[in-house]
Subunit: 364 residues, 2 copies
């Protein structure tokens, strides 16, 4: 059987190892495994969310409310935007997928940062588009602008804070950059970790409302998978001008969010106190990583997220170290696949972080 040619360039995506797989591969008991690989909220999700979901498990037979009214009301209130400015996806991933299929094709170029979220490239390949990368590891807006002028991309992705490095753009500088982009280039501002950045440093805080007010070619992405502690429930969103949202809506499969996910995300927005506590604890624990890195003479990129990137020294091999950690039940992300001799480690709970320091010290 022949398939579309563009499939030839697509590798099947391999997700980070889930706890279940480590249990099976290494025979380590679930309770002894620490997963600091996927930037999940180590404090879980709000107990209010858990109760609300438990209360409606008998509704699992009913198709989701495809108008998503409850969740849309909660999100439009949070961001002070209109319904017409919002689209909800199965993770912000799915909004990226809609964007790619709506705007790009095999004739398109997509401009992204040298090291950034892997799904931009994966979805670009789905439509056969060419991916242009910056050279700079950090988002360098001058380099982005130069490449934009040179390559005329259909879509530019800015990931702030950036995954997997943790650095974040200055919001004002980014807004200035956006002013210079012509209105037929779609700019995606991916704020998956924005709650963390805004907490740590308000100069990093991007306002989706301001983006909608100022630009007719920019879309902001957010997610419930990180600070809101709902990585397992697959809910993300895009915020943009109505005409852009309308086009993306055409590509949205009906019932793309489960009944329980809609409830979980809606209730999560009612418990911002939980989220703020988690973020506060996150940065308290992050200090320990900074101290650890200093003590070990390991470079650490200043992080505005719930993870840290440890750039290892010569003689320290990120693949060897992450493999050795895995065999001890400690799952972190090896960044060798991104061309970096580095480990990305989710800032976990106090106990999880202590365990990481203990185990990694034996391997450095």
């Amino acid at each position: 059987m022949k398939f579309n040619k563009k499939l030839e360039n697509i590798q099947t995506y391999e997700a980070g190892k889930p706890i279940e797989l480590v249990v099976r591969e290494f025979g380590i008991e679930t309770k002894d495994i620490v997963k600091l690989a996927s930037n999940e909220n180590p404090y879980g999700c709000s107990i209010k969310v858990q109760s609300a979901v438990s209360e409606i498990v008998s509704h699992m037979a009913l198709y989701p409310d495809d108008s998503m009214t409850k969740l849309k009301n909660a999100l439009t209130k949070k961001y002070d935007i209109l319904d017409e400015n919002l689209i909800i996806g199965s993770g912000s991933d799915q909004v990226i997928e809609f964007i790619m299929h709506a705007k790009a094709s095999s004739n398109s170029k997509i401009l992204i940062n040298s090291v950034t979220f892997a799904m931009y490239e994966i979805y670009a390949k789905h439509v056969g588009a060419e991916v242009i990368r910056t050279k700079s590891q950090k988002h360098d807006l001058d380099e982005f602008y130069e490449l934009y002028k040179q390559e005329n991309p259909d879509i530019i992705f800015l990931c702030t804070p950036n995954n997997p490095t943790g650095d974040a753009l200055n919001a004002a500088a980014m807004m200035e950059f956006l002013e210079k982009i012509d209105s037929d280039t779609l700019v995606v501002v991916d704020g998956a970790y924005m709650e963390y950045a805004a907490f740590k440093d308000e100069t990093k805080a991007v306002s989706p409302k301001e983006i909608v007010a100022k630009f007719d070619n920019v879309i902001y992405l957010g997610t419930f998978s990180k600070a809101y502690g709902l990585g397992g429930m697959r809910v993300g969103y895009g915020i943009s001008r109505a005409n852009i949202i309308q086009e993306l809506y055409k590509l949205r499969p009906p019932f793309n969010i489960t009944t329980l996910s809609l409830e979980a995300a809606s209730v999560a927005l009612e418990d911002e106190e939980f989220v703020n506590n988690c973020i506060s604890l996150n940065f308290k624990e992050m200090k320990r990583y900074e101290e650890f890195a200093n003590a070990q003479n390991i470079a650490i990129i200043e992080s505005y997220t719930n993870f840290v990137t440890l750039s290892l020294n010569e003689g320290q091999n990120s693949t060897k170290i992450s493999d050795a950690l895995l065999q001890k039940g400690m799952i972190v992300r090896n960044l060798a696949g991104y061309g970096m001799n580095a480990l990305r480690v989710t800032v976990g709970t106090k106990e999880q972080n202590s365990r990481f320091f203990e185990l990694v010290l034996e391997l450095l």
Copy 2:
């Protein structure tokens, strides 16, 4: 902003009215609304599934096990197939989406039944493919073959039992038809309601295992949304030869099934007794629809599903009747959009069906 041309032909999908919308529009209380519009299992889902999901609500923060080992093991055991023959989608809808993007393009033709599941056409439009329809309302395999020879489609969809009519193909006749199709045309056998058909009449029962053994160009689709009572959880699957599954996998977004959905579907397969009881009750209640239709001189298509299609007589307008029912809190599916003066009614519980008969009698 300019978008891809193919979007011009896509209408935004409007799902059937959920209960929430009727509550808002007509001010009817939730408890007074009966929804027989989306072919959900009126008996809900197994209590074992509800308990299992409740027990893991604290896991919502963790990304789903993307290897889906537990659910895959349960499904490969049920169907006596290998892992490599299985792909799991966010509803079987998503598998249809993968198929369309893998095999079809703007140069493709897609052959479907005159009246059938709406998503085939919607996803065909996503890739700009042309949709060819039979004339016959029932699946007529001779007409399918004739159009296949004439049009040379890339994909053929057979929906058995068919939605929204409820009739089903003879499985042996379908297997003979499949023998005649060349190996570069992909045939999709959509068995979303197969559990019902197989229960009622074993000559309708299609065996996914046999399909995989015999054909290198056929994919079988199944779902947890109907008999298994998990419409809100978005889990479906495709079963085919490994080389086809591999190509579809390239288009699968990571984490396409939520943590709670994976658990729900896995446990649902452990309680086949619940499913069989529901199906048995379904056909007992369906007899009442047949009696009702006979008494009212309304034509009813013999159904192998959990819904019935009532073909109304002249002077009975399906749009008027379904609108009037809606205002009384009874949601059914008007088939006017399919060019039929007919109502599709999910066979509900005894009480729900009695209520339908009572209300519709006032309107005929």
